[in-house]
C-alpha cells in the first residue's frame, strides 16, 4: 500500500535520512523504532509532504506521491498525527475535529466520521465545546488521533503517541491504536518505546541515524541481538 524506496531527506540541504526503504501493506500495523534523533519524525514528515525528499521514491497505492504538497497527500488518504500532539489549543475540541475533516466535502460524511470518533473516544464528546488547551495531556493525544481519523484515512501515521504520558495512559493509547488497526485501518507508528511498539506491531523496522538497520516481524525483532543490546538493555 505504502512503499518507500531509497528515501533521502533532511533539512536545509543536510540529509538526516540516507537510503531508507520500507513498506506497509494494507491492514498491517507497522512500527518504525529508533532512538532520539534517528530520523523517525523526518520519515513521516516526508511522506506527508511537509518536507520535500532529496531523493528516492514514495509510492502510495501504486502512485508516486513524493514531492506533492501536503494538502493533496491528505486527500489521497494519508493522515499524519504529529509528534507532540499539536492540537489547536485556542479552538474547541469539536472545531479541532472538524479541521481534521477539512478534506471531506460532504456534510453527511463529516457527521458520520464525527460519530465514529466519538464512539471511540466518548470523553471527547463530553468535552466537545471546551477549548483543546484545557484538555489533559492524555486527552489531547486522543484528540490528535481522533482528528487524524476524521479525514477517513486509508493509512494513519502516528508519531510517538506515548510521548510525555503516564504509563497507564501509554497503555491506553496503545490499546486504542490496536483497536483502530483491528477496525481495518492501516497504521504506521513511529516509536522510541521499542518494546511496546514491537510487541503490538505486525512488522517493524529499526532506524539508526537515518538508516534502516533491521526489519522483521515484531517477534523476530524482539529476539534480534542488535535490538536486544541497543534498545532493550538485555
Amino acid at each position: 500500500m505504502l512503499r518507500v524506496r531509497n528515501l533521502k531527506a533532511g533539512y536545509d540541504g543536510v540529509p538526516v535520512l540516507f537510503d531508507v526503504s520500507f513498506e506497509v501493506n494494507e491492514g498491517e500495523l507497522v512500527a518504525i523504532v529508533g532512538s532520539n534523533g534517528a530520523g523517525k519524525s523526518t520519515i513521516l514528515r516526508t511522506i506527508s509532504g511537509l518536507i520535500k525528499p532529496m531523493g528516492g521514491e514514495i509510492e502510495f497505492e501504486g502512485k508516486r506521491i513524493d514531492g506533492q504538497p501536503a494538502h493533496l497527500i491528505v486527500e489521497q488518504g494519508i493522515a499524519h498525527v504529529p509528534e507532540g500532539r499539536h492540537v489547536f489549543g485556542k479552538m474547541t475540541v469539536k472545531d479541532n475535529l472538524l479541521l481534521g475533516a477539512h478534506t471531506v466535502k460532504s456534510e453527511k460524511e463529516v457527521s458520520a466520521a464525527l460519530e465514529d470518533v466519538y464512539a471511540l473516544f466518548p470523553r471527547l464528546k463530553e468535552r466537545e465545546s471546551q477549548k483543546a488547551e484545557t484538555l489533559s495531556g492524555g486527552e489531547q493525544q486522543m484528540l490528535a488521533i481522533a482528528r487524524g481519523l476524521m479525514s477517513r484515512p486509508k493509512i494513519l501515521m502516528v508519531d510517538e503517541v506515548s510521548l510525555g504520558l503516564m504509563p497507564i495512559l501509554v497503555d491506553k493509547v496503545f490499546e486504542t491504536l490496536k483497536e483502530i488497526s483491528k477496525a481495518g485501518i492501516t497504521v504506521l507508528m513511529v516509536e522510541q518505546k521499542v518494546q511496546d511498539a514491537l510487541e503490538m506491531a505486525d512488522r517493524g523496522y529499526v532506524l539508526q541515524t537515518g538508516r534502516i538497520v533491521a526489519c522483521g516481524t515484531g517477534r523476530e525483532l524482539l529476539n534480534n541481538d542488535l535490538v536486544k543490546r541497543a534498545y532493550l538493555g538485555i
Binding site: 504538497p69 493522515a79 499539536h86 481534521g100 477539512h102 478534506t103
Partner: protein
Amino acid sequence: MLAQVIASGILMGFIYALVAIGLTLTWGVMDIINFAHGEFLMLSMYSAFWMYTLFRTDPLLSLPLEALLIFVLGYVTYKIVIKRVADAPGLTALLATFGLSLVLRNLAQFLWTPNYRFLNQTLVTDKKLAFAGIVLGLPQVVASVGSVIMTLAVFYFVQRTRMGRAIQATALDKATAKLMGINTELVYGVTFGLSGACVGVAGALMSTFYPIHPESGALYSLLAFVIVALGGFGNIKGALQGGIIIGLAEALGGYFLGTQFKYAIVFLIYLLVIQLRPQGLFGW
C-alpha cells in the same frame, strides 16, 4: 450637544473598526502588515465614484462590486507581490507593500488627477436622522450600520465556516494546518482577499460623504494602524473595540479642543498605549 458628539464618534468608530479589521486580519494570520491597505480603500472609493459617474449606480448598490473588486485585488496582491517575499528576512514584505502603496497612489494620480471629487447626489446625501435631540447625517448612519453588518459577516465567516476554520488553524499552526489537508497558500490568498473586501465595503460606504482623491486612504490606514495597535495585533474583537475608542477620541477631542487637535488626541492615546501596554489594550 455632548450626546450628539458621542453618537457621531461611535458611528465613525464602527467604520474605522472595519478598516482596521481588514488590516489586523493579515497580521493575525500571516504576520504581514499591508501598507497598501489605505490605497485599497482609496481604490474602492474611486470605483464607487466611477460607478456613479459613468453608470448612475449609487454607491450603496455598487457596494458588492467594490467588495468583490478589492477582494480580487487583495488575492492577486498576495499571489503576485506577497508570496514571493513572505519568507524573506526582515522588512522585505513590509517594504514590498509600501512600494505597492506608492505605485497605487501615483497610478491614481496619473489616471484620475489629484483633484478632490465628491458624490453629492447619492441616495443618502444631505439626509438627516433626528431622534431624542440628536441629529445625525444619514450617510454616516448608513455607513456605520453597513460597517457593523460587514464586521459581523467577517466574524461569522472566520468563526463558523470551513474556510474560516482553516484560516484560524493556519494562523495558529501552519504546519499542522497542512496536515489537516488545508491548502495554506489558498488560505493566505483568501485572507488577503477578505482583508481587501473589508476596505472594499468601507470605501463604498465612505464615498457618500468623504472627498475622493489619491490620498484619501492614507489617513484612514494611519488610523487603522493605531486601532490595530490598541486592539492587539491580529485581534479582530480588539480592532472593533479600538475602532470605537478612536472614533470617540477623535469626536471628543474635536469638540473639547477644536478640530485641528482631534488627531493629536488620537495619536497621544496611541503613544501612551504603546508605552504602557505594547501588546495592546485588549492584547492576549
